[in-house]
């Protein structure tokens, strides 16, 4: 999780803001690279980060045998608030 939060910091605050001007020397397609990170890339990375987190936590849960079961099946009303 620390690694994911560091990446969150890097793509938005470092690549999108602090180093935006040096990065704008390079281009990605028709975008100056720093500008792309600020207005497009950081959002794509945010989505990837939340995916990796959800996926990784599922694996950790499985390894330790605390899988909460499929995410889509509602609990019975008796288990409400007691979990």
């Amino acid at each position: 999780m620390a690694a994911l939060l560091s990446l969150w910091f890097v793509v938005s605050y470092l690549l999108g803001i602090v180093f935006v001007e040096p990065l704008n020397q390079f281009s990605l397609g028709g975008f100056p690279l720093g500008f792309w990170f600020a207005q497009q890339g950081s959002i794509f990375f945010f989505i990837i980060l939340t995916f990796v987190y959800a996926f990784g936590m599922d694996r950790i849960d499985r390894r330790h045998g605390v899988n909460e079961g499929p995410a889509s099946i509602p609990p019975t009303s008796t288990s409400e608030t007691t979990e």
Binding site: I17, V20, G34, Q39, S42, F44, A54
Partner: protein, 539 residues
């Protein structure tokens, strides 16, 4: 068919769908009313969260703001999406694991204190009411602009809608109407964006068209962003993609505002309670991801829309004879949101960076609404944008009203005054407080308090500076005590806000706009759209 005819058709159609869903999903239990029985699929909850979060300001104002800010608009794009990473990793799964009905309930239990809980209730109610007033006003305005009814009649129609599905359907009704509203708003946002991107660059995907070469107009053959930079240089404006050039915010400002928006996003109670509606914390993690995907869909499209609109607007208006101005120019001119002052008396519109020679002022908030007309898209697309704006405002209003209703009935009535309240009485109380909250929201929408700028700023600051740290410390730091938490609420907020105030840009922009608003009553509504945006400017 005219724009108005199409608007009646599409708005009528979408509203019947919302009412149908509310009747289908009406609830009989408190669990159903507060957390939709915890049976919401993560994907559906992702859509509902996206609609819950993206309000009239995201839908209508944001692309226009970015269009005038260029690179600096990234503060909204990163700020309002980056908060979801914090939410997904640090808050949502843990709050869900704890398994309560409301955020104040979590605060009260974690800090073993009724005081902490009651303070949290008042924060939640305060944040939600100020926020919701702007949404109701937004509904009224879309009605008045596109259906030519009075703004107040529009607010009343909005009140009627939300009353129906929030009171009858509770969280379950709200969740599934929000899913429908997300579909309406994203289609309404993407269709014009795709059409314009296709027309201007030959790419149907706006995110790609944004970095491509223009194929029509006087700049055909040039890359879109290079064109924008060149146009801005010619007009004496700071370059569109330039970051730390003259006339734009400094790096410290951008860093501080982005951070403030991210933390504020992660601390909003109406977004947080959405994660109580899924079955378990695993589902909370996945649904945060889905929410971010759905929000990202609009948020990566918005800057492309901004760039297209910017080129389009300058190309269509600059150096054109006023007498030849297109019809949409005249109709927005009547609202006072576009102003042309012929300074040199040549009858030609000159758009310039220098305020002494500039003859055109365009309000930022009309870009999304006017964009389909500027790009000459058919009438039904314009009507669709109106339906999308309504969906965005209504979905956010409903989510906020549920926070208020649950706070009153569950956290105040049940926990403080009547601990043994039976479930059926609590459900009735929840419905009554929802109904009451809707009516108050409507009244605030019709008679907006004059001090709203300060109040909204305070509300967003409160969410950022009180809920986020209290929840974060409550989850990860065992040593945080109730005294610390209670003491942290009030001064925490003021310290945070004055710090942000020092390093950020002192609200000069919003000051200017509030002066405009005060002097021109007919422009008042635009102010409401920007209410959330304003709150950020204040910090």
């Amino acid at each position: 068919m005219s724009i108005q005819g199409w608007t009646y058709l599409l708005v009528g159609l979408t509203f019947s769908v919302y009412i149908g869903i509310a009747i289908w999903s009406r609830v009989q239990s408190t669990s159903g009313f507060y957390v939709a029985g915890r049976g919401v699929h993560p994907l559906a909850n992702g859509m509902a969260t996206a609609a819950d979060w993206m309000s009239a300001a995201s839908f209508i104002s944001m692309a226009g703001l970015i269009s005038f800010m260029g690179y600096t608009g990234a503060i909204y794009l990163m700020g309002w999406t980056g908060g979801y990473v914090l939410l997904a990793l640090l808050l949502a799964p843990y709050l869900r694991k704890y398994g309560r009905y409301t955020i104040p309930e979590f605060v009260g239990d974690r800090y073993y204190s009724q005081t902490a809980r009651v303070i949290a209730v008042f924060c939640a109610i305060f944040v939600s009411f100020t926020y919701v007033a702007g949404q109701m006003r937004g509904v009224g305005v879309v009605f008045s602009r596109f259906l030519e009814v009075d703004v107040n009649v529009g607010v009343l129609i909005g009140v009627g809608m939300v009353f129906f599905y929030a009171v009858v359907g509770g969280m379950r009704g709200i969740t599934y109407t929000q899913v429908a509203q997300f579909c309406v708003l994203i289609v309404a946002y993407l269709i014009p964006a795709v059409a314009i991107s296709w027309k201007m660059t030959g790419w149907a995907v706006p995110q790609i068209g944004f970095g491509s070469t223009l194929i029509e107009g006087q700049y055909a053959g040039m890359a879109l962003l290079e064109t924008l930079d060149a146009i801005h240089r010619d007009l004496g404006l700071p370059e569109y993609t330039g970051a730390w050039v003259n006339g734009k915010k400094s790096m410290v400002d951008v860093l501080a505002i982005t951070m403030a928006l991210m933390v504020g996003t992660a601390g909003l109670p109406h977004v947080l309670i959405r994660f109580y509606t899924v079955p378990n914390s695993r589902a909370a993690r996945w649904s945060a991801m889905w929410a971010l995907i759905f929000i990202g869909l609009l948020y990566t499209t918005a800057p492309a829309v901004s760039a297209f609109a910017r080129v389009n607007m300058i190309e269509t208006l600059n150096e054109q004879a006023y007498s030849n101005a297109p019809p949409w120019f005249k109709s927005w001119e009547e609202t006072g949101l576009i102003v042309f002052t012929d300074r040199n008396g040549d009858g030609v519109i000159q758009y310039r960076g220098n305020p002494d020679s500039n003859e055109l002022s365009v309000d930022r908030d009309i870009m999304v609404l006017a964009n389909p007309e500027i790009a000459k898209l058919p009438a039904w697309v314009v009507a669709l944008v109106a339906a999308g704006g309504l969906a965005a405002a209504l979905s956010t209003a409903a989510g906020l009203l549920l926070v208020i209703s649950a706070s009153v009935s569950h956290d105040l009535l049940k926990s403080v005054w009547w601990k043994t309240m039976p479930q059926n009485v609590e459900l009735r109380m929840a419905r009554i407080s929802a109904a009451f909250a809707v009516i108050v929201a409507g009244v605030l929408g019709i008679y907006p308090p004059g001090f709203v700028a300060q109040v909204v700023a305070f509300a967003f600051g409160l969410a950022a500076a009180s809920f986020f740290p209290i929840l974060l410390l409550g989850i990860f730091d065992k040593r945080t005590t109730k005294e610390g938490a209670v003491a942290g609420y009030a001064p925490g907020d003021w310290i945070h806000r004055s710090l942000y105030h020092l390093v950020s840009f002192c609200g000069s922009h919003s000051y200017r706009r509030s002066v405009v608003v005060r002097n021109q009553p007919r422009r008042y509504w635009i102010y409401w759209y920007g209410a959330e945006l304003h709150s950020c400017h204040h910090r």
